[in-house]
């Protein structure tokens, strides 16, 4: 899941001409990764289309992950 997410982030950044920080890891703060809020909206849209799930819509309470690790965990929990 983590690899898939990082691949999509890289693709989105490349399509948009955005520069992504080197060495994306669990502690990378999402909004400091090089993707802006629109980029993350595109990421969520891509993941929904590929995985057929949107964990954020399925949650009872709103959750806004801060780091890449938190973001990946949400998708891992939801797809398991």
């Amino acid at each position: 899941m983590k690899e898939k997410i990082i691949n999509i982030i890289t693709e989105i950044a490349s399509d948009s001409g955005w520069e992504i920080v080197a060495n994306l890891n669990d502690d990378t703060v999402l909004l400091e990764s090089g993707l802006d809020s629109l980029g993350f909206a595109i990421l969520v849209a891509r993941l929904e289309e590929e995985l057929l799930l949107d964990p954020f819509t399925m949650m009872d309470e709103p959750v806004y992950p801060r780091t890449l690790g938190e973001f990946v965990k949400i998708y891992e929990n939801c797809s398991s």
């Binding site: 629109l38 909206a41 595109i42 849209a45 891509r46 289309e49």
Partner: protein, 240 residues
Amino acid sequence: MKIIIVTGATRGLGLAVARQCIADGYKVVAVGRTMTEELAFLLQQYSECIDFERYDFSDTEGIHLFAVQITKKYGRPWGLVNNAAIGRDGVLATLHERDIADLIKINIEAPILLTKYILRPMLINRCGRIINVSSIIATSGFNGLSVYGATKAALAGFTKSLAREVGKAGITVNTLAPGYMETDMTSALQGDRLESVRRRSPLGHLATVEDAAYAVSYLLSEQSSRVTGTTITVDAGSSC
């Protein structure tokens, strides 16, 4: 064929927009609560260019799934025309709370949720058109339509901020503000009140649903790629 989703497409303005979209070469997904004779006729005439999807936007909880299914069935849409709405005529002091809640749910919450989910495939495509159907009532006001007017003003406000959010993804978001037209929605305005609106128009007549549909046609077109966050008023000049 580019896909356009038109809500409230079974009659009035939505039906006219659907008809115009077919003429413009789009494939239309016409969404509505109940089939009408007019829409059935259109489906029969242009079966390759239009499909009907039944949905009642008072069911806001089902909108996510509905949007996902539409995208899966027809592909990523090019345009969304948020036209479905209800109109309840009545002074605020006596308008039932249930009617107020329904107006807010169907005229504001539902189009916002539908846009949220139909926007996603547009974000992936990095292009798209969103048109929110407001009303001149949003800015001019009208006795007995305070809540309806509030919902239409909300949509115009929604347009402006969303246009800023998604502009970088090549998606435009605009508002159509029709004036009084002779549709089922304005049936409460028939008679003297409608005649008074007609008299006040500089052109001496009301706009038609076809006039408004032409404006939608422009906003959906490639030629409008540099028009976003704005309102096109189609009211035969009555609010000028």
